[in-house]
């Protein structure tokens, strides 16, 4: 790590102000940020710890589950309210990393980071969630801008995420055997904004919606409806773990399993 200053502001306004400094960096769980710092891949002037802002907590209304940005994965995974309202979301949180990571990592950190193989982006995109920040509300469809890239500005802090409650939803994750991130993770949902299918881990540009699957499922919500619906390998990742062709194939298989799981 390079040397850096550390601040733990008590208010959102103070955090935003602190993040206005050049090369300032927010920190939530630190599960991504700290390894990056240790490898000296990032040289922040100041690390702004968001844990003093009171941003954690879960609220469930009739139509939405609202999760504070600092809420840890383990909290979401174990939440009875989330399990009742959107069981797929709680299950997804329980699949992230290992126990230690789930106890530190947060939903805000995960979404700000937008790792192309992370799990939460699939839920956010498929459920048509809204991301609330210190500045504005952002629709899921506008938020993700390619791998490790979002519309967030440097001094913008995610404060919460609101997930509309779907009629049906499920997330199935085919893990990369080494990292245990998603090699292909498919979130299917039938909700207020129709049928949405989001895929993480597979695309070169990070999480994406699968128009072919969505159309097929909108016409006929069943695993069988997805048979024969092609996924182009063109924009998919290819690495030592899986070729683009294999990932394209897995998109279909995993999507079918997700639809089955959603019932």
């Amino acid at each position: 790590m390079y040397d850096f200053a550390y601040q733990k502001p008590a208010t959102l306004a103070a955090a935003v102000a602190a993040l206005g400094a050049e090369d300032a960096k927010a920190m939530s769980g630190g599960m991504t940020l700290i390894p990056v710092l240790k490898q000296r891949l990032n040289k922040p002037s100041v690390v702004v710890d968001l844990s003093g802002l009171g941003l954690s907590g879960i609220t469930v209304t009739d139509s939405a589950v609202v999760i504070g940005a600092m809420t840890t994965h383990i909290t979401v995974a174990n939440s009875g309210e989330v399990k009742r309202a959107i069981p797929a979301l709680a299950a997804l949180a329980g699949l992230i990393g290992d126990k230690e990571v789930r106890h530190r990592g947060t939903i805000g950190g995960s979404l700000a980071n937008n790792d192309p193989a992370a799990d939460y982006p699939a839920a956010v995109l498929a459920l048509g969630a809204t991301i609330t920040t210190s500045k504005r509300s952002i629709a899921a469809d506008d938020y993700f801008q390619g791998m490790f890239t979002t519309v967030l500005e440097a001094d913008e802090v995610i404060t919460s995420v609101s997930f509309p409650i779907p009629a049906k939803a499920a997330y199935v994750k085919f893990k990369n055997p080494a990292s245990r991130y998603a090699m292909v993770g498919v979130f299917v949902a039938k909700g207020p904004s129709g049928v949405r299918v989001a895929i993480t881990g597979a695309g070169q540009g990070g999480v994406f919606r699968h128009a072919g699957f969505e159309a097929a499922l909108a016409a006929n919500w069943s695993a069988d409806a997805l048979r024969g619906v092609a996924t182009s390998a063109d924009d998919l990742n290819s690495d030592i773990h899986a070729s683009a062709e294999y990932r394209a194939h897995l998109c279909g298989v995993i999507a079918q399993r997700a639809v089955k799981a959603a019932g």
């Binding site: 790590m1 085919f174 055997p177 080494a178 030592i240 773990h241 899986a242």
Partner: protein, 786 residues
């Protein structure tokens, strides 16, 4: 009150575990010396390049920097020595290029050290390392084993023409050719043994210390054999005499072979400590481990077996290319030769065998012995070949093995590849494993799986290995530059507690328990009264360390011999005290007694007399009760057994799940069944890791693609099922314990069992490891050859 039995055969809990699991282990990184400095290594990120210049001026001027050293500083110091010399077919010695402590002139693999920065803090050393200005000129590079010998391939060392290290052979080429000419059939199989990265839980650490008053050096290091490191580094690299150099390997968190070798960092910190008059510490980061710990395996082979019409093996011919990496690590040349080719008879009566091995240099991390070392490669080749023969001949895979097994009554059995097996019963281990795995019930399980859309397969491996390394005379004639006996010093203290000083080293094996059980058994003292001392050349006599499943068979035998001496001396003292003749003294359960009387003295009483010799036969007997014995075995030991793996494959994704794993091994006398079970399970887990998941992936130029746990798939608990371990033991006939060794059997026997099962499930003849989901899926879908 009856004391619990703690001797040979008792599954007592491991004495060392409380310390380990409660954070009280004393690992090398836990050791800090006053005035310590910290070293950071600047490593090559290029596979092959000429070092044009290194400008260290900015680094030297950075805050806290004490020194910067480069290859120039070590140019007149010995290179890292290789401990084994192999000879070519024509009798000439292998090519042995210098392995500079710090790269000099050229870098030859990603991870090769270019410079070191020593500073007051690690942070300062890292900061300064970024200020080094290094000008490298890329050279053409080569990483792939099969490309190394091709004409026009980039050359790793000027002195090794065509990248050939040696071209060696063993066996009778003419006899094999004759058998091939007339055989009913010759079955051929091409196979690869994938390169692995050991990944011990504890990364390597080296801390050099220098005493300005005495001129003594101390190296604290993560080593499996501190005396060997002292010898290699002292005599061959730094020119330090033994009495001025102490090497301490305290608690070590796993080695699997990777901590046998003498590494550059050990020499650098020791040398620099003397130069600076201050301790110098280096702790590997995990990414450094990936590119600087010796890798394992990496063979490409063709195997051919001539068979008669009944499936009897007539002759075996093997051709192997072995990747040495960029330099020769300490044991490297021995692995694909004497630890490999000699094993190719396996459990079978194949009468003639011919093996050719070409070792090649590439721009990759040096390869050396990794759990099993040569024997897993031989076993994978042979046990895969046997399945291919069965398939080609339309024979049953189990029956063809039985048909070719060395019969029970054929021991001692001389193989055509130099080894003489002392004992074994391959029928017994096979039968027990078939029963334990419910082999007979497999067809029903396969049908049930098929009904669920799953492909089930079962695979059998009936392996043999040679361990308990090793008879010094034999290894000496094979090119080892060291003897491989072991030593034990048993010191009975005045009140009867005991310290045993052993030349072997425990880095997870549980020696502190197993060896204490030997003492408890033979001297009749409770375990709590026995301490096993290892890992410090300042304390222990000159021994050879732990690898090759040798500690119990060789080191334990030395202990038995030393304890025999203790008892013999104790009898003389007891005879004096009880006014009897030494021949009439019996020793049992820690008590010396006069036969046929109720006169007796405890071991403690005898020890006290030995150290307070007021009433003592001082004219004829030296005081003290402290004996040392060296043990050089007459032969290797030959564990063997049968591993049966059952897999279930999801045809939609290609994912292979291990659903059953049964191992029945012959490890000779078992001292602690719980520890044996754990050793076998750990070895099997590593074997399954190799078979399904692990792969050190390089691109063609020598960039390491799997350089972190994000990309190198280490097996995790949830990749496994329960591993059922049984034993069917025959005794080793030539050591006093009858023990053979259990440290490596798991990693040796299991990989072919897994791949045989996968091939069975897929109904294919062969696939190379690792059987990753994508590879399996490609085979199922006809996108790749099986």
């Amino acid at each position: 009150m009856n004391a619990p039995f703690e001797g040979i055969g008792a599954s007592v809990r491991r004495k060392e575990d409380l310390r380990f699991i409660s954070g009280r282990g004393n690992y090398t990184d836990d050791i800090n010396r006053p005035g310590q400095t910290h070293m950071v290594i600047k490593r090559s990120d290029r596979p092959h390049a000429r070092i044009i210049s290194i400008d260290a001026s900015a680094a030297l001027a950075a805050p806290g920097v004490v020194a910067v050293y480069t290859g120039d500083d070590f140019a007149n110091i010995g290179g890292l020595p290789c401990g084994w010399q192999i000879h070519n077919k024509d009798g000439s010695p292998m090519v042995e290029p210098k392995h500079p402590v710090i790269a000099h002139g050229k870098v030859r693999h990603v991870g090769d050290p270019i410079a070191v920065v020593i500073a007051e803090t690690k942070q300062q050393a890292k900061n300064a390392a970024e200020l080094l200005v290094i000008d490298l000129e890329d050279l053409p590079s080569i990483a792939t084993t099969t490309d190394a010998l091709k004409p026009g391939a980039p050359i790793v060392h000027d002195e090794a023409a065509g990248n050939l290290c040696y071209d060696w052979h063993l066996g009778d080429a003419d006899a094999v050719a004759a058998a091939f000419a007339t055989a009913h059939k010759v079955v051929t199989l091409d196979l690869e043994n994938n390169r692995l990265i050991p990944n011990a839980m504890e990364p390597r650490v080296a801390l050099g210390d220098y005493d300005r008053h005495t001129g003594d050096y101390t190296l604290f290091t993560t080593s499996q054999n501190p005396h060997v490191i002292r010898l290699l580094m002292g005599a061959f690299v730094l020119g330090l005499p033994e009495h001025k150099l102490r090497v301490v390997a305290p608690d070590v968190g796993g080695g699997f072979g990777s901590k046998i070798y003498h590494y550059a960092e050990e020499a650098i910190v020791t040398w620099a400590a003397g130069k600076l008059g201050r301790p110098v510490k280096w702790t590997a980061e995990r990414s450094e481990s990936f590119m600087s710990d010796a890798h394992g395996r990496d063979h490409v082979s063709t195997a051919q077996m001539a068979v008669d019409k009944d499936g009897k093996f007539l002759a075996l011919k093997v051709h192997t290319l072995a990747n040495m990496g960029a330099y020769l690590s300490t044991f490297a040349p021995a692995v694909p030769t004497y630890l490999y080719a000699t094993l190719l008879a396996g459990t079978y009566t194949t009468p003639v065998i011919y093996v050719e091995v070409k070792a090649v240099f590439t721009n990759t991390v040096p390869v050396d012995a990794y759990r099993g070392a040569g024997r897993p490669e031989a076993t994978f080749l042979l046990e895969r070949l046997v399945d291919a023969i069965a398939l080609d001949m339309g024979m049953d895979r189990v029956e063809i093995r039985r048909k070719n097994f060395i019969p029970r009554d054929a021991f001692p059995y001389q193989t055509p590849v130099a080894l003489q097996y002392d004992s074994g019963d391959y029928f017994a281990t096979l039968d027990a494993a078939l029963k334990s795995a419910d082999y007979a019930g497999f067809p029903a399980r396969k049908a049930a799986a098929a009904a669920q859309g799953k492909l089930r397969g079962i695979g059998v491996s009936t392996y043999l290995e040679a361990c308990g390394i090793a008879p010094s005379k034999v290894v000496g004639s094979l090119g080892a530059r060291a003897g491989l006996y072991e030593v034990a010093n048993v010191r009975v203290h005045p009140t009867g507690s005991i310290s045993v000083f052993t030349g072997t080293h425990s880095h997870g094996q549980g020696h502190e328990t197993t060896f204490a059980q030997l003492v408890s058994d033979q001297l009749g003292v409770p375990l709590s009264q026995v301490d096993i001392v290892h890992g410090d050349t300042g304390k222990i006599p000159f021994g050879m360390g732990t690898y090759g499943s040798r500690s119990l068979a060789v080191g334990g035998s030395a202990m038995v011999k030393a304890m025999d001496k203790i008892i013999a001396k104790g009898k003389k003292i007891a005879a004096h005290l009880m006014e009897a003749s030494p021949e009439d003294i019996e020793f049992k359960n820690g008590v010396f007694s006069v036969a046929g009387t109720d006169k007796q003295k405890t071991l403690g009483e005898i020890a006290l007399t030995a150290y307070v010799p007021h009433n003592y036969p001082i004219e004829t007997l030296e005081p003290g009760l402290d004996e040392t014995a060296f043990y050089d075995p007459a032969n290797f030991t030959f564990p063997g057994g049968c591993h049966i793996c059952e897999v279930e494959i999801d045809p939609e994704t290609g994912v292979v799940a291990i659903v059953n794993f049964n191992a029945v091994d012959d490890v000779g006398r078992v001292v602690n069944p719980m520890i044996v079970e754990g050793q076998v399970q750990g070895g099997v887990a590593q074997g399954i890791g190799q078979a399904l998941l692990e792969n050190a992936a390089y691109d063609a130029s020598g960039q390491l693609l799997s350089g972190s746990f994000m990309d190198y798939t280490m097996l995790r608990a949830d990749d496994l099922t329960n591993i059922t371990v049984g034993t069917e033991n025959t005794m080793c006939t030539h050591n006093p314990l009858g023990s053979k060794g259990c440290g490596e059997v798991g990693a040796i026997g299991s990989p072919p069992a897994v791949i045989n099962a996968v091939c069975d499930a897929l109904n294919i003849r062969h696939m190379n490891m690792p059987a990753t989901a994508e590879k399996v899926w490609s085979i199922i879908n006809g996108r790749a050859a099986g």
